[in-house]
Symmetry: C2
Subunit: 341 residues, 2 copies
Amino acid sequence: MATIKDIARLSGYSIGTVSRVINHHPDVSEKARKDIEAVIASENYKPNSNAVQLKNTGCSPVTVLVKGSRNVFFESILEDMQKVFRENGEEVSVAFLDEDANEVEAAIQLCVQRRPKGLIFLGGNLNYFEESFERIEVPAVLVTGDAEELPFENLSSVTTDDTKGARDAIEYLVSQGHERIGIIGGSLDTDLGQISDFRLSGALEVFNRRKMNFDMDRDFEPSKFSLESGYEAARRLLKKAPDITAIFAIGDMIVLGAIRGIVDSGKKVPDDISVMGYDGIEYTRYAVPRIATVRQDIHELAVRSVEDLLWRLSYHRVAQHFIIDHEIIPGESVKNIREEK
Amino acid sequence: MATIKDIARLSGYSIGTVSRVINHHPDVSEKARKDIEAVIASENYKPNSNAVQLKNTGCSPVTVLVKGSRNVFFESILEDMQKVFRENGEEVSVAFLDEDANEVEAAIQLCVQRRPKGLIFLGGNLNYFEESFERIEVPAVLVTGDAEELPFENLSSVTTDDTKGARDAIEYLVSQGHERIGIIGGSLDTDLGQISDFRLSGALEVFNRRKMNFDMDRDFEPSKFSLESGYEAARRLLKKAPDITAIFAIGDMIVLGAIRGIVDSGKKVPDDISVMGYDGIEYTRYAVPRIATVRQDIHELAVRSVEDLLWRLSYHRVAQHFIIDHEIIPGESVKNIREEK
DNA sequence: AACATTACCGTTAACGTTTACAGTTACAAT
DNA sequence: ATTGTAACTGTAAACGTTAACGGTAATGTT
């Protein structure tokens, strides 16, 4: 494996000059640049990034911390993020965390060991940030959570308005004639609980305002963001609240599981039970029936967060907070039952 | 950020002794060990991995190269791999490659820059390996491809028998009375084409042996491993070959898209068209109808590959080649049409 | 002609580690 | 009392790189 020394030897210049060529410093003659670049190319030389990073303290690539990886939604965002990094010629490193890990503590560890130049949190619990984010010194972005209220200068956030999304979802169900709506949502003891909270509270707002019949004990069932959990929740919910005509599940994976649960309970979607999801993963457009959902702009979410971080790294900009649009996607999984009455 | 120097200063020992404590070397007194460990704990010190890796040439963590990331199947394997690495106290680094990238060239680049101690290829094209794998010096594992025939001493492989899996799938469809079977598979110009090849040839074997009516132009339609591609392929296939009673799609994502395509062509699954997939992703068990598939043991695939690599790294074992079992999972998506005749 | 300036290039110290080697003790054996 | 040995501990070189600094030669200025 060639090192900068070899390049220096082979090209007849000193390692200093080689380094300058590599880093596009001005003080180098046209000839030297050409010569050295030729050797670099012929030797297929790339600087050893460990050495580079050791020298320039704190510049290993941006790390994306993904919390709870079995999550199609996150995977899609991650993929788009990768693309943006690549387009900007930036390396990325990805670390996966358990769903119940403390991502901020994990990030602190990661910082002392690897000195990344920036951090992106894909999923995260605001409480952990409040507790200990102050100990993180590099620019960071929280995706899927709003850090506007937090007092940190180096933490941007990119998210959608979960409360409003849920309100819109319920309004949509109501517009289709549904009055008894059940909810399958996150339990508060999971770390993604905050998102669930927001979505749940959005739904409750509508119920309240419209004075609809909704009882937390009867019409709500907790669930993780997984197929299995959605399945179980749906079965339990249908037993507790047999008169509901629609279910709003706060994640598309939950809906997918829930549909099977509904079918196994002997009911039909959407004839007996309408269902609506949240997130807008690709498969909702191909499912039979096509699933109504609150689509988040995944691409925008990814692009904004990466670009914000990159800009801040390059130009020392200040942290910002973005709210990305969402969109109600009607679907065959919701039946219009208005005319029936 | 504390360095080894700080620990030395604070504990009153030299950095040599501190380093010995960190690396569990024997030549250090009980007292020194205690003292130094106390300081390390109180300072929350972790060695800077860039420095460590620079010194011990070639020991940045194992890197998993994932090719074509929008692939639920790979994501599941990746997740299981992460778990095994974590259990063994090993770090992992993940890099995502485009579906049409040359993963071996990418790995070579990665080696000169980062000096990983090992490599896992998740997906890959045997041709690229044949061409240039010789230039890779670290132990590697190819997952989802059989490297047995390749002359490389440091390349293990873990895969399932795709040909046999496809044979078994077709036999299953035949056992359910299907005689006119269409296939949706990968086109040869994609890099995952080899897997497609094997699966396709397995299917053809059965058609030949049983002298079944199958015409490549009419009864086969190429497709990438994606929902969209499966959708389009199904629609085209149904137009070309309206008399088929079953479709074997060589990937579960393809099936998921294909089902929508079939429905949009005005047919029903499984009443008009039976479908069967390959891979065994979790959702096949929750889909309505439940999807018959060739389930690969994802967990085993992940565990074997990681453990093989870790063993080889620790004990300098020789590369091995594993064939992981598969299993035919019957499902509601295949209708038994035997009794109808 | 003398000097200043520019443009280029080489030398070297540092980044935080690990490890071979060279001490320094303490204690047992002679 | 001397030597040998064992058990530790410190020192310093090295890993591959960057960047501050100093040097040299060529060119421009007076």
